[in-house]
Symmetry: C2
Subunit: 431 residues, 2 copies
């Protein structure tokens, strides 16, 4: 008689299993089983091995089981502005819409109201992991952190630093900013397996050299990752040149202060990177958060995603709420493909458009890599998963590849009927 | 005592009333009233005039009342392909996805299944008027026509003509095509106030000179409008040049056969028009159906919408299902703004991006003009209207302009709670 596996730590889910081990193609197991042990994928199989036959199976029938979505870049406090103010470019948009909204988060009641909703929206849209900007406010950012822990979602959450070139009502005193950051880190490191703090200088123009330098040191001291913005807009790139003529380029400012891959780093946008900067990103394994909704909405431009993939950069997707109006990662996937097609035309057909499996990869495993083994169903990966019911769509003779493509283009939160993070089923937050 | 208006033919709706008389700005009446007489807007007022005080008011409270959406270009038989096959350009996409699907409509049972769903989707997404391609099949196209009549939606519906350069299984015999078209027109002209037939040569490459010539004559003989495609893709434009070296350009082929504004005409796409062609469109009052989702999905390019508006062309929006994956006109509005921002960058900031009221105008009054007085709430306009409940969105201190902007960017069918066409409330079709 075979040795049977102990039931306690093992779960089995049945359905059409779809993921992307590599960007080239979907891995699809029709009517397959995912065996999950201690919250991690053990294997994906077509038949249950003998030793697991005593384990009850959660059978999702004709539904699809896919990895949870990963959002590498969003600003939680900007959520009240989604779909607003989109007649502006980056710098005026910051001044007129974003900074006034972010100033409100000194009020913890306001912060709780918004952040509860943001966490609910992430849950609703199947974003199981995200890398999030808070505001300069330590308390409000801590609250956001705690709400994510309570909800059972995975995230990196950063208290923003900015001490120059922004309105008085939101500008930090340099020493206070550093003190608050230190306190924020110390209060939250080790608090949760799923939610962790991240060093978050807003971007070079709003950060003094002193703050950049100290943040770089803190990243090392506390062994925490880093997030910021890079080369989103031509005006911004020019501004950085004027502010830092001593540096070769925008990226080298971060690099100089140990904020560019010395600890794991994600940089949002990267539309106007020079080849030197691309090389530095490759060398330092810096992640790119590609945010096409935002880049179109703010008239920023189109990131050369094909070029970065060719160069072997780490690329994931970001909703960039609220420069991006839609927190849904499938919506970001669809517009990433659309934007890549225009880039293909603009480059005289040099940079091939993204394919559907490629963009799915970017929104799952590509960004998931920033969290470790996240975003795939290979052995050892955290079981972050969504169950997709696409029965509302027309047509019953589609392949699974067609079904997942259609969900990406046309699905919404109604199609997502269950969510799992690190092996746990995550219910709607009850704040 | 004042003369009271007879109640029978008058209706009054209360809510926040939003429309665009011109593209420059929204007309907004907070807590306003629309007085509708015999299905047409009589006036929009802040207070009910004395003579209407006996009329009961349908009060929508804090909801918005806006014109119904107008879709100037979609292919009903391609609906089963929405969100599929979007890794192709136009010509291979036609060969591999579109023609095989369209061939299925010789089967009326299949046609009924799809077309019932298409009409339901139009209803669901608030598209109160549309200009629709059927297939080459007379019977299936008649069925689509009848389903739209039954649903109470407004439309022009065309039986497609194509007798060359397409696969055998879908190519028509020239004489049979003309005979079928004549029969289709005769069977449907005058059948409905809201649904009407339209002459529909697919596009120049698939139509022989004989068929173009005869269709031009038929348009005149029966006094019916015309729809087709123009300059969607550079390969297509080259192909037309090869097929018709005797003509100055693509548009002049249609023009020569009286299919370019001699009767009201809508041309989809118009990405690569020459200035001569733009002048001809202006002169002949030809409508442009701008289909940005499709143009991005099929890597076609970005239409210079600002240029056409500057030149005074008639422009509306088209979902172009299934080159466009989304039948929702607000979704087309949002991507039209995004695409215009890339065009702004591409033209060295010459062609300013579309604003929110401009794109709203295009998707209501701009396209509505093809139907007569449709798409606005000015006096004499057909009362095509939607009631929008946006209470699921975050924030309660937004202006109405912000609320409608957010609905455009983030709303979906759940936000549309009532639909009216020509004064009649339209319920979900019960096919």
């Amino acid at each position: 008689m075979n040795q049977k596996i102990k039931e306690d730590n093992v779960k089995i889910y049945k359905g059409h299993i779809i993921f992307t081990e590599s960007p080239e193609k979907f891995n699809i197991v029709e009517n397959g089983f995912i065996i999950v042990e201690n919250g991690k994928v053990k294997k994906v199989v077509s038949e249950i091995p003998e030793e697991y036959k005593n384990i009850p199976v959660s059978d999702f029938g004709n539904k699809m089981i896919i990895p949870g979505f990963v959002d590498l870049h969003l600003h939680a406090p900007q959520f009240p502005n989604v779909g607003l103010g989109l007649d502006k470019e980056l710098l005026p948009w910051l001044e007129e819409y974003t900074f006034p909204e972010e100033a409100k988060y000194k009020d913890l009641d306001y912060a709780r109201k918004v952040y509860s909703r943001v966490v609910e929206e992430l849950w609703k849209h199947g974003t199981t992991r995200s890398v999030i900007f808070g505001t300069v406010h330590k308390e409000a950012t801590s609250l956001l952190f705690d709400l994510l822990v309570e909800a059972g979602l995975g995230a990196y959450v950063g208290k923003v630093n900015m001490d120059r070139n922004c309105p008085d009502f939101i500008r930090e005193d340099t020493q206070q900013s550093l003190k608050d950051t230190r306190e924020y880190l110390e209060a939250h490191i080790g608090k949760s397996d799923l939610v962790k703090p991240i060093i978050t200088p807003r971007f070079v123009p709003t950060c003094s050299v002193e703050i950049l330098e100290e943040l770089g040191k803190m990243a090392k001291e506390y062994d925490v990752p880093i997030q910021s913005h890079l080369s989103e807009n031509t005006g911004e790139v020019e501004w950085v040149k004027e502010l830092h003529p001593e540096h070769k380029n925008y990226a080298s400012v971060y690099e100089c202060y140990n904020l560019f891959g010395q600890k794991p780093t994600v940089m949002a946008h990267c539309i106007y990177n020079t080849e030197d900067e691309v090389g530095l990103m490759k060398n330092n394994e810096v992640f790119v958060a590609h945010c096409p909704h935002s880049n179109l909405n703010l008239s920023s431009g189109i990131m050369p995603v094909r070029h970065y993939l060719n160069k072997g950069l780490n690329v994931g997707l970001g909703s960039d709420v609220s420069g991006g109006h839609d927190i849904s990662i499938p919506s970001v996937m669809a517009v990433a493909v659309q934007a890549s097609k225009i880039k293909w035309l603009e480059t005289n057909k040099e940079f091939a458009p993204l394919t559907t499996p490629e963009v799915f990869y970017l929104g799952t495993k590509g960004g998931g890599k920033f969290f470790g083994k996240v975003g795939s169903f290979e052995e050892g990966y955290e079981f972050d998963a969504l169950v997709i019911d696409d029965s509302n769509f027309f047509g019953d003779d589609l392949t699974l590849e067609e079904r997942i493509q259609r969900f990406i283009y046309l699905g919404d939160d109604r199609n997502i009927i269950e969510r799992y993070v690190a092996g746990n089923k995550v219910e709607k937050p009850n704040f």
